[in-house]
Amino acid sequence: MSKREIIDSRALNIALNRLCCKLIENHGDFSSSILIGMQPRGVQVLERIVKLLESTYGVEGVRTGVLDITFYRDDFRRRPGHLQPNKTRVDHLVEDQKVVFIDDVLYTGRSIRAAMDAILSFGRPAKMELLTLIDRRFSRDLPIQPDYKGRQVDSIASQRVEVLWEEVDGRDAVLLTDPE
């Protein structure tokens, strides 16, 4: 199995800054917006974006939540092994709010389909949007596209795209793993 870095720390941070600017253009002071990090790996993206919004762009008090989609997946009982659910924390009413799902890698789109289903348990949002740091092009199983994308990556099904974070993994990078 070979791993290579396809996006380095500098490029990753430029992308994050660009995503923040686009969010501000569309959401203004975020008074009617809620940013939802997708468990497990989208939570890191959410935290980094919130930090940047505060420190670099002076946007304070952005409402956030984290969403686990395990119970809404379409492959329950269809894949081997155990699906471990993670914590969900949606403290704010999403009714009539603009919800932005935030994830690290958009691949088949099935997680986002499940997320759209899951968030409805907390009310009817006025709008749902999708922000993804990495968009794996041409690999969608469903008609789902991101509203905000950091970088596009071309990859084949047998490859894995992995985002590393300094806080968790020791450095910021995006890796592409090839099978043997």
Binding site: F71, F76, R77, P80, N86, S121
Partner: protein, 312 residues
């Protein structure tokens, strides 16, 4: 984390500590689910569950039914009072008839110990034991453990006293087995006639004085006096039982540290605990009821997960 090591939940006896940990951790996520504005998830939408109750039950049946419905399973209910069992049908025939209607899981309460294990050997469905005679009641023990962990943060090293009618109680046996597996210290306390002789062989302390027990413990699980299972006189009178083993506010106020009071229900107010105790801040009885739904959702979810769909 890996999946459950068992295909049925027949008793705590068959579970590993990792299984118990997995069920309790999964239940934590389901507790969040049942406190959402919309409390339903679609996970078990292709699963049908039959609730077979050969013995009366109100809260356990309601709790299971709610857990099943919150997981979007299809549910059929069956109670012995209105069934063909009265006409002489055997257990396996009854259940096979129900399974031929494409039922995937069976939740069963039965007056005979081991009924669940018997069924698991003879039918092709996941069996959940909802109480078999005076043998085991695994989901009650799991929800009790979940409630203790929620109240005190951990099970390991926690001192739990189980007080009252131990000999007729499936709750007591399942609780003892589970708490020991999870590293808690356990004491049983009750009149000599209501504590089985072999109890010490399970590694639990045996005590006959309520005061000593509550001074020792962090958690007191007060069991119901089961009049319906007592074919003999086990104690002279209810008044005497109340005087010796009824937990009162005076007991709790006199303790140096606060303890958590639990009861599996239904409560005989004024017998094993007073109304004041049942409604006090020490009591987590209603939390236990809410946790029961979350724990049963976790059990059904994890057992359903083991019934993989074939690609054919």
């Amino acid at each position: 984390m890996s999946e459950l090591s068992v295909n049925h939940l027949l008793g705590i006896k068959h579970l590993k500590s990792e299984d118990i940990q997995l069920i309790l951790d999964t239940a934590t996520q389901f507790k969040e689910v049942i406190n959402r504005p919309i409390k339903k998830v679609p996970t078990l939408r292709d699963i049908t569950v039959a609730n077979l109750f050969f013995e009366n039950s109100t809260r356990t049946r309601l709790s299971f039914e709610l857990a099943e419905k919150r997981l979007s399973a299809d549910v059929v209910n069956f109670s012995a009072a209105s069934s063909s069992v009265k006409k002489g049908e055997t257990l396996v025939d009854t259940v096979n008839n129900i399974l031929s209607m494409k039922v995937d899981m069976v939740v069963m309460r039965h007056p005979n110990p081991g009924a669940g294990e018997f069924l698991a050997q003879h039918v092709d469905a996941s069996i959940v034991n909802a109480g078999d005679g005076a043998h085991e009641h695994p989901t009650q023990a799991l929800l009790d453990a979940f409630s203790i962990r929620e109240a005190l943060g951990t099970l390991k090293g926690t001192k739990v006293a189980i007080v009252g009618d131990i000999v007729h109680s499936r709750v007591a046996l399942s609780n003892v087995l589970l708490l020991k597996k999870m590293g808690a210290e356990v004491m049983v306390c009750g009149p000599t006639t209501l504590v089985p002789k072999y109890m010490h062989t399970l590694g639990v302390k045996v005590e006959h004085n309520l005061q000593t027990a509550i001074e020792w413990c962090d958690v007191a699980n007060m069991l119901r006096v089961q009049h319906e299972r007592q074919d003999l006189k086990y104690f002279p009178s209810l008044a005497e039982y109340r005087a010796q083993y009824g937990l009162t506010m005076e007991h709790l106020d006199a303790l140096e540290k606060p303890i958590v009071v639990m009861h599996p229900g239904p409560v005989n107010r004024g017998v094993e605990i007073t109304s004041e105790v049942a409604d006090s801040e020490h009591s987590i009885i209603l939390d236990q009821v809410q946790n029961g739904v979350a724990v049963r959702m976790a059990v059904l979810y994890l057992l359903a997960e083991k019934r993989k769909l074939s690609k054919a």
